[in-house]
């Protein structure tokens, strides 16, 4: 069955590139331009995993993470954080908020694809 991946980022060009990458990997892709949209899409579409930018308008990636984990339905959904800060405190905060892993921007597309694969497999 085709897996669905939600990508949330406020940078349109990053969305374009990630959308292409994930489709090429054979996933169904949902796009969100801010934290609120991400939350809404998760609630309505139940994606299999989420790629989350940290610095987003309306709701930050951390807040989205927190909201996801607070909901019993999405306890096991893999979350991969995409952060442009890369400071240890940010990474630690993200993991504390319930993210499964993180990648620091700019990342290698191969590594990202690999991580997404692993997280989806481990969630089964």
């Amino acid at each position: 069955m085709t897996k669905t991946v939600l990508i949330a980022d406020d940078e349109p060009n990053i969305l374009i590139s990630l959308e292409y990458l994930m489709k090429r990997e054979g996933y169904r892709v949902l796009l969100a331009h801010d934290g609120q949209e991400a939350c809404d899409l998760i609630a309505s579409e139940h994606p299999d995993m989420v790629l989350l930018d940290v610095m987003m308008p309306k709701k930050t990636g951390f807040e989205v993470c927190h909201a996801i984990r607070a909901d019993e339905t999405f306890k096991a959904m893999p979350i991969l954080l995409l952060t442009a800060k890369g400071r240890d405190t940010d990474v630690a905060k993200g993991l504390a908020m319930g993210a499964n892993d993180y990648m620091i921007k700019p990342f290698s597309t191969k590594e990202l694809a690999q991580k997404v694969r692993e997280l989806l497999e481990s969630a089964e």
């Binding site: 406020d10 060009n13 590139s17 292409y20 800060k85 921007k105 700019p106 191969k110």
Partner: protein, 883 residues
């Protein structure tokens, strides 16, 4: 019964082990690999609080009064948990000013007063001697229990030289001397001793737990069994109740807890291990829970042992204070009794060693030195090396203190229970609390106030507690207890001013602390402090502010480096002094001792070093004798303080700038990573996928080009911003016509507006007097506002109005759009660096620096920029430039 030779042999062997630990600790410290640099060792060394009194006395007290042994341990637990911030401040003060005893702490705070130092020392000696006696008594009676048949007590030999306790006291003195006074140090730290104390704490705890477990689980069927058996006996069950059959004595419980809280900080040995020997303030965090836990552990079996003893022997047959030994003996477990005895000796030795070292430092620095320095030979400028003399004084003091303890033991020891002796000492050191705590938190406390308070407290302590205890020992007639001196009833020591209905300890503590605090506060309020008191008050109370940045030096006058060098050498030894001065030279940035500037800072440095060796009061006198001082007035203190705080403000400003710079760098990095992410992802995918459709490839390449442009724009703007902020930007000023500027900017965006169907209108005055400014920069500002507006107006129906208004004061430019607008609470944010309000999709990506730079430019020409907008109603950015 155990053979005396065995007991003596085992005890000596144990002391040798302790010594080996101390030796090892010292050697490691010399090699730079300190064993006491561990929070565990620090926390365990605090357990020197548990003396032979804990070991034997607690059980005795529990056997007489049940749970009433507890407050003595609850106090320290509470003190550590509630007041560790106080202790931390004490440590910081003591370290910063090289304070090595509680007497010096008080003296130093109140203007380095020799009189105060002497008084505190005197109170300590008088208060502590009974406590020393108690340790001797504990060892002596423990020895008797071990070596004599059960129930029989040792006859005191008629001749003092035949008394084994005397030799034990001397042996302990020797032990202390070797431990504590092998060399003279300006920080007065004894690493080996601390290691030995920590070791000793473990031994006494294990020994006590072993006996406790033996009694509880070996002789009885566990705690529950002991308690239920005790409850079944009429003469024992009251021990398990708080009220003991009478109304619960809150005041007494409170008094005991308070007393123990104060003594865990103010007892000389506690001050020594907790403050003086502390190597790292952070260790306190561990001690805050480890030490209370230790106290809890050592108290777990107190009540079971006491009740077990009473159940086993019956009430009033065997002295409960010896249960720890007599219970194993009665069961035939002689080895266990011996282990318990070693634990008791361990507790006593630890206490005696640390207390004697602490008190001898005080006696030497605060009692003997000030007197010696007044005499002809020592006060002179050209005296010889005094380090040997200092050590000699301390060693003599140690022997004398222990001998005094022996004398007290010999005369009074047999008539008084261990616990009561200890509480008298506790009440004596509690008198330091107002002066010390007041001194740490209240700048208004003065020397005379502290003197008055200590004297009043000490006199009342003597009268209401010490004298009655002596009377009860039969030394003085007890008549005055019954009827008051000369028959005056309201002067009765145990019902002073007619205050009755309290136990004598609560009564004494109430009156002595009441008089102490009142005298301290009233006298302090009554007089203005002298300059030196005021300066010391500042240094103590604000120690954290002072030590975090440069601290002020309250001294003025002339000095010579050679004089100061020579003076330091006399007290610390030549070699050590050379080293200290060489380090100092490096610190102030000169190559040679001879080049050190003889300024206030050097004088302060020398005085601090000497303080460690001879106490602050004596150090003050000695330094004053070799330099020419100008008297310090209160105004000088304020002036010096102001200079120092100006320096501090400057430093803090630098720090916050540094912080801002860090934030800026982190934001720039973030902004650079974002376009790089798209560029990397897209190019990688194109590289991996040579079959990619041409159209797709073209779209991606377009994005790459746009993101690259964004990157270079960002780099340019960051450089621009940095230049403007640092004041390095170049400004090409000329007479500019604002109409031309606006027209130029409007022309360059006109094409884009047409493409997107945006109506762009300009409203310019017919003529305008020129302004003096940089034309290119102003075009940049207007262009910025315009491209912002273009981003936010709706495509197809967008509308942008640019208006220029003239007035006598200057020119105002407005850029009004019909976009989504900005809520008023976000207005301040838009001018912050890297704050972007949401972008309309597909537009040129902003850098988050445009508005901040524009504002900087406008402000450079003395103008200002602002925003008027509400969410949903469009935005109007305006700026004003003065003529």
């Amino acid at each position: 019964m155990v053979a005396p030779a065995l007991v003596v042999g085992v005890t000596l062997a144990y002391l040798l082990i302790l010594f080996a630990v101390a030796y090892f600790g010292d050697k490691r410290a010399e090699a730079g690999r300190s064993v006491i640099a561990s929070p565990w060792v620090y926390a365990l060394s605090m357990a020197v609080y548990c003396t032979a009194w804990t070991y034997f006395g607690s059980v005795g007290r529990a056997a007489n009064a049940g749970v009433w042994f507890l407050p003595i341990y609850l106090g320290p637990m509470l003190a550590m948990i509630l007041a560790w911030l106080v202790v931390r401040k004490m440590i910081r003060i003591a370290k910063t000013y090289r304070i090595t005893s509680i007497a010096d702490f008080v003296a130093s705070r109140y203007g380095k007063s020799p009189l105060l130092a002497g008084l505190v020392t005197l109170i300590t000696v008088v208060g502590i001697v009974p406590y020393m006696a108690l340790q001797l008594k504990a060892i002596a009676s423990g020895y008797a229990v071990l070596t004599l048949p059960l129930g029989q007590s040792m006859a005191t030999p008629a001749d003092w030289w035949a008394d084994g306790v005397l030799y034990m006291a001397l042996a302990l003195a020797g032990f202390t001397i070797v431990f504590g006074t092998r060399h003279l140090d300006s920080s007065e730290r004894h690493e080996g001793m601390v290691a030995a104390i920590a070791f000793e704490s473990v031994v006494k705890l294990l020994a006590f737990l072993l006996v406790g477990a033996f009694v509880t689980y070996g002789m009885f069927g566990g705690m529950g069994d002991i308690f239920s058996q005790a409850l079944a006996q009429d003469n024992l069950k009251h021990l398990l109740a708080f009220d003991q059959g009478q109304p619960f004595a809150y005041s007494q419980w409170f008094t005991l807890t308070l007393l123990a809280m104060l003594s865990v900080v103010f007892l000389p040995r506690q001050f020594q291990v907790m403050v003086v020997e502390n190597v790292d303030e952070r260790h306190l965090r561990r001690a805050v829970w480890v030490f209370p836990l230790y106290l809890l552990l050592i108290n777990i079996f107190v009540l079971p042992i006491a009740l077990g003893g009473l159940l086993y022997f019956g009430v009033d047959t065997v002295d409960p204070e010896t249960f720890v030994l007599s219970l194993p003996l009665a069961q035939g477990y002689n080895w266990l009794a011996l282990v318990a005895f070693v634990g008791g000796v361990s507790a006593a030795t630890g206490m005696v060693v640390v207390e004697a070292i602490a008190v001898s430092t005080m006696v030497c620095n605060d009692l003997v030195m000030p007197l010696l320095l007044r005499t002809r030979r020592f006060g002179e400028r050209s005296g010889g090396d005094l380090t040997g003399l200092l050590l000699g004084i301390r060693r003599t003091a140690i022997v004398l203190i222990l001998l005094l303890g022996y004398v007290y033991f010999h005369l009074a020891g047999n008539t008084y229970a261990l616990v009561s002796i200890g509480l008298i000492s506790f009440a004596a050191v509690a008198q330091f609390a107002p002066a010390v705590l007041g001194g740490m938190y209240w700048k208004g406390g003065t020397r005379n106030g502290a003197l008055a308070g200590l004297l009043a407290g000490f006199v009342l302590w003597t009268y209401t507690l010490m004298l009655p205890s002596l009377a009860k020992s039969g030394w003085v007639s007890a008549n005055f207890l019954e009827y008051g001196p000369l028959g005056i009833a309201w002067l009765k020591p145990e019902a002073f001013l007619g205050l009755e209905g309290m136990d004598n300890l609560s009564h004494a503590l109430f009156w002595s602390l009441f008089a102490n605090i009142s005298a301290y506060v009233w006298v302090s309020l009554w007089q203005r402090p002298a300059a030196r008191e005021a300066s010391q008050a500042l240094l103590f109370v604000d120690v954290f502010q002072r030590t975090s940045v440069a601290h002020p030096v309250f001294w003025q006058g002339q000095a010579k480096v050679t004089d100061l060098l020579h003076l330091t050498g006399r007290f610390l030894g030549e070699a050590k002094t050379e080293r200290l001065f060489a380090d100092y030279a490096q610190q102030v940035g000169v190559y040679d001792i001879g080049q050190i500037p003889a300024d206030a800072k050097l004088v302060h440095f020398v005085e601090t070093q000497l303080t460690g060796a001879i106490g602050s009061a004596s150090a003050r006198v000695m330094v004053a004798s070799v330099v020419e001082e100008e008297a310090l007035e209160l105004d000088d203190v304020m002036r010096i303080l102001e200079e120092a705080s100006e320096l501090r403000v400057a430093l803090e400003k630098l720090k916050s700038l540094d912080h801002l710079k860090d934030d800026f760098m982190s934001s720039v990095t973030h902004e650079l990573r974002t376009p790089l992410t798209s560029i990397r992802a897209l190019t990688e995918m194109m590289q991996d996928d040579p079959e990619m459709e041409l159209e797709q490839r073209q779209q991606f390449l377009g994005i790459v080009v746009a993101e690259t442009e964004r990157l270079s724009r960002l780099v340019n703007q960051v450089l621009d911003m940095a230049k403007i902020e640092a004041g390095h930007a170049e400004w090409h000023n000329s007479d500019v016509d604002m109409r031309e500027i606006v027209q130029q900017a409007v022309n360059s965006v006109a094409g884009t507006c047409r493409e997107r169907g945006i109506a762009l209108q300009t409203e310019l005055p017919p003529q305008l007097a020129p302004l003096r400014a940089d034309a290119d920069r102003l075009v940049q500002v207007v262009l910025n506002l315009l491209s912002n507006a273009i981003k936010f107006v709706p495509e197809g129906s967008g509308k942008i109005d640019v208006r220029v208004r003239d007035s006598a004061a200057g020119v105002t430019v407005e850029v009004q759009d019909n976009g989504i607008g900005i809520a008023p609470d976000k207005h301040a944010q838009v001018f912050e660096k890297f704050r972007q309000v949401e972008n309309a999709a597909g537009s040129q990506q902003g850098t988050g620096l445009g508005l901040p730079i524009s504002r900087q430019i406008v402000e450079h020409f003395g103008g200002r920029m602002w925003l008027a907008s509400q969410a949903g109603r469009g935005a109007c950015f305006s700026f004003f430039l003065p003529r």
